[in-house]
Symmetry: C2
Subunit: 229 residues, 2 copies
DNA sequence: ATCAAATCGCGAACGACGTTTGCAGTTTAC
DNA sequence: GTAAACTGCAAACGTCGTTCGCGATTTGAT
């Protein structure tokens, strides 16, 4: 009965608490870090779809099945990739000034991270994959928000919402803006056509991200309950 | 050289402008509408992963390959599903009151749609799949925003951002909140632990969606350029 | 009326994927 | 010294999206 190891079996712990290897057998040829590195390089270069077990294994000069000595599933690999990317958000800025300024700065860092690793947009919102680095980032945000008077749950949700909004901006910048109107009859959408054929109004906001994040965070964390409507 | 039909071949038009069938051969047993309906039923019941060509075909009592008489790819099917779901946003509310009230109402409708079809969260942000119903919805939003003085591009982006924020709320409601902290050492995250062990502050905002959307839309569409800082 | 072109349903097949399994060899704990 | 644990690897399994070839059916043009 071999393979009762930590990396296989139907009922295993999450990858974060599973030891990379036991103490018996030969020294492993590869490592989780090397595998994750190869996977990230592949994802950066050719997109998340290029991150197949076979492709990652080939980049390391081995076979697909061999990876399962180090991970227990492709989902584990994506979790590890995510957490490793989040590590790039370090070092965290010192929270000296206004907490709002610091939070906006953190949001900008997130935006840059999404820009550097666009595949993050496709994996970061999965319920699994909350690794130590992600928790450390949350922890840091909570620290920054310490002077704010509101419940921890509200802070948590504000952080998540900020991350979400940043991801929306990142998606916009990621070039998805190339809508193709081929094959549709635009005449059926009069207001759309009219809006775009009219001389455009004032130029678009310069710093949309900044203003959006400020409004969002103050709205979520500071605002008083409004009167009944 | 058969199969030069509109539903196959490497260089084909988008699905929206492709006729459902030609005029020659026998009457088709199924229809795009029936296929899309079966696919949506499957996705509603068992999630998007259950929408395989084989499963959809089986629900219609046929084989997977037969579906390619009606669509040219699974992506086409997802596009059709999306557009069909967006159709449920009709009828659009009359824009009589304040445009902001109407927009918030439209956002609430979107939120309800995401709740009824959670798989929309996984497919709506793909660059393809902008079908006639989605365009009609945009058109309606542009109509509502007619009294607002700003560029059409800014309006377009505000609508997209509203949709995105609504999707974030929908994802939260979709039960993804079940974080599993199994296998992580919480002692390494002092501010997180401290924030959650402290007595919680004021109760979370009652109508978070409403306030967030109002803040977002006014911020994106109305605000004056701020002074340099 | 005739015939070729287009389209139908269908089942088998292809290639890629994630994952499992079995096996021969290697290292360690007892 | 021996047994347990671990290694790498290649082959295989099942599922997936998609393609292909077939005989049968309907249409448009002659």
């Amino acid at each position: 009965m071999s393979d009762t190891a930590a990396n296989s079996g139907p009922d295993r712990q999450p990858i974060w608490s599973r030891p990379e290897r036991g103490s018996r057998g030969p020294a492993p040829t590869h490592s989780r870090d090397a595998i994750v590195g190869a996977a990230i390089a592949l994802a950066d270069a050719e997109g998340l779809a290029a991150v197949s077990m076979r492709a990652v294994a080939a980049a390391l000069g081995t076979g697909a099945g061999s990876l399962y000595r180090y991970l227990s599933s492709r989902d584990d690999l994506l979790d590890l990739m995510t957490d490793r990317a989040v590590r790039e958000l370090r070092p965290y800025p010192q929270a000296e000034g206004d907490w709002l300024d610091t939070m906006v700065l953190l949001g900008r860092r997130q935006l840059a991270l999404f820009g550097a690793h666009p595949w993050l947009l496709d994996v970061f919102h999965r319920p699994s994959g909350i690794g130590p680095e992600t928790l450390a980032w949350f922890d840091n945000c909570i620290r920054v928000l310490e002077p704010v008077r509101c419940s921890a749950v509200a802070k948590f949700e504000a952080i998540a919402m900020m991350t979400g909004v940043v991801s929306l901006f990142a998606r916009r910048e990621a070039g998805a803006g190339a809508f193709s109107f081929a094959g549709v009859d635009l005449a059926a959408y009069p207001h759309l056509v009219a809006a775009f054929s009219r001389p455009s109004g004032p130029a678009p906001r310069a710093d949309l991200v900044e203003r959006t994040l400020r409004g969002l965070l103050t709205g979520l964390l500071l605002a008083e309950p409004t009167e009944a409507g």
